[in-house]
Chain length 197, copies 2
């Protein structure tokens, strides 16, 4: 009674959804990813900066380049997933700010003129968007398998040769296959996470 | 047709929901925040590390301490919101790992024994959880007003005197009031965000 979100949506996004390590052969289309993006793009970022960039790794040759840069334990599932997305922060997101945040067009230079401030903001806000994207994949009836075990420097070099992006996560996407997940781990109790002052 | 999530849920979480800067006087109860947590706790983090910690700032004296550490432009709304939550990464999350990730009980020391690796992982994974939390607030029929404009060092000192937490966001929570938001900013086009290789 305390939540407005209906039970089916709670289950789809949170309660029944699981991180998948194995997938069926059913392809994931660009239309599905477009629908995911057209939903999660509305979730908030600071100054509407939207620093997340997504590379869909579709060609066998690009998939191989990626798999070789994943940690050992992530290689087989990254090679086998119907679709793999590389999620990165664009450290030059500020170029879009005059259009994306017209209320304060000077933000581009005043707040984000210096690279360290820009990188920190891109890392945090793109991470928010990684969270939104994972839930968006689930909203499309698909399972996500987000991974952070990889050689980040090598992926940045290989997939973002402009030197202006920082990979945050690699996400396998598809319909969950047989034995797609292990038993769900426990969650911290409310009192371990939330305090009142 | 491409999304499994029903339209009402899409609207509640993404399409109609907005970052609020003004709220009604209606209180936000601990039961509501508990319901939010009991939903979003299921969303994934690496090694099930769950580094997000939440401080609900309820007492007038704590609210004043917080407001004084917000940037000028965030003070009035932080003072007036029915509830304010300080969201931080717990840089000692690894103490929970043997229980939370029993598949690899050595992760606590092998992966996260060193503080820099631990802080980086806590910052990224807690940021994912900030994203989940914002959507969870919306799932409860409430509006969130997330802010990153504050003196982070001062908030860490004031609200986390153990020196083991890093504030990531401060979130105003309540029912949206009159003129709660400005016009929604544009969003980047699909082709500006997503590429295929």
């Amino acid at each position: 009674m305390t939540l407005s979100l209906d039970a089916a949506a709670q289950n789809l996004l949170f309660r029944d959804a699981r991180t998948a390590n194995a997938f069926t052969d059913e392809p994931v289309t660009d239309e599905q990813i477009q629908a995911v993006y057209d939903l999660v793009k509305y979730a908030p970022t600071a100054y509407n900066q939207q620093p997340l960039r997504i590379v869909l790794v579709r060609s066998p040759e690009a998939r191989e380049r990626l798999v070789n840069r994943m940690n050992e334990g992530n290689r087989a599932k990254t090679a086998a997933a119907p679709l793999v997305a590389v999620l990165a922060a664009d450290n030059e997101f500020h170029e879009h700010l005059p259009v994306q945040f017209p209320a304060f067009p000077q933000a581009k230079d005043v707040l984000f003129g210096e690279r360290p401030a820009r990188e920190a903001s891109a890392a945090f806000n793109a991470a928010l968007q990684v969270g939104y994207f994972i839930l968006g994949v689930r909203a499309a009836g698909l399972a996500a398998g987000p991974m952070t075990g990889f050689d980040a420097e090598a992926i940045d070099k290989e997939f973002f040769p402009d030197g202006e992006h920082s990979v945050l996560a690699v996400v396998n996407i598809g319909k969950p296959g047989e034995n797609a997940w292990r038993e769900r781990g426990p969650r911290l109790a409310y009192d371990e996470v939330v305090s009142v002052v």
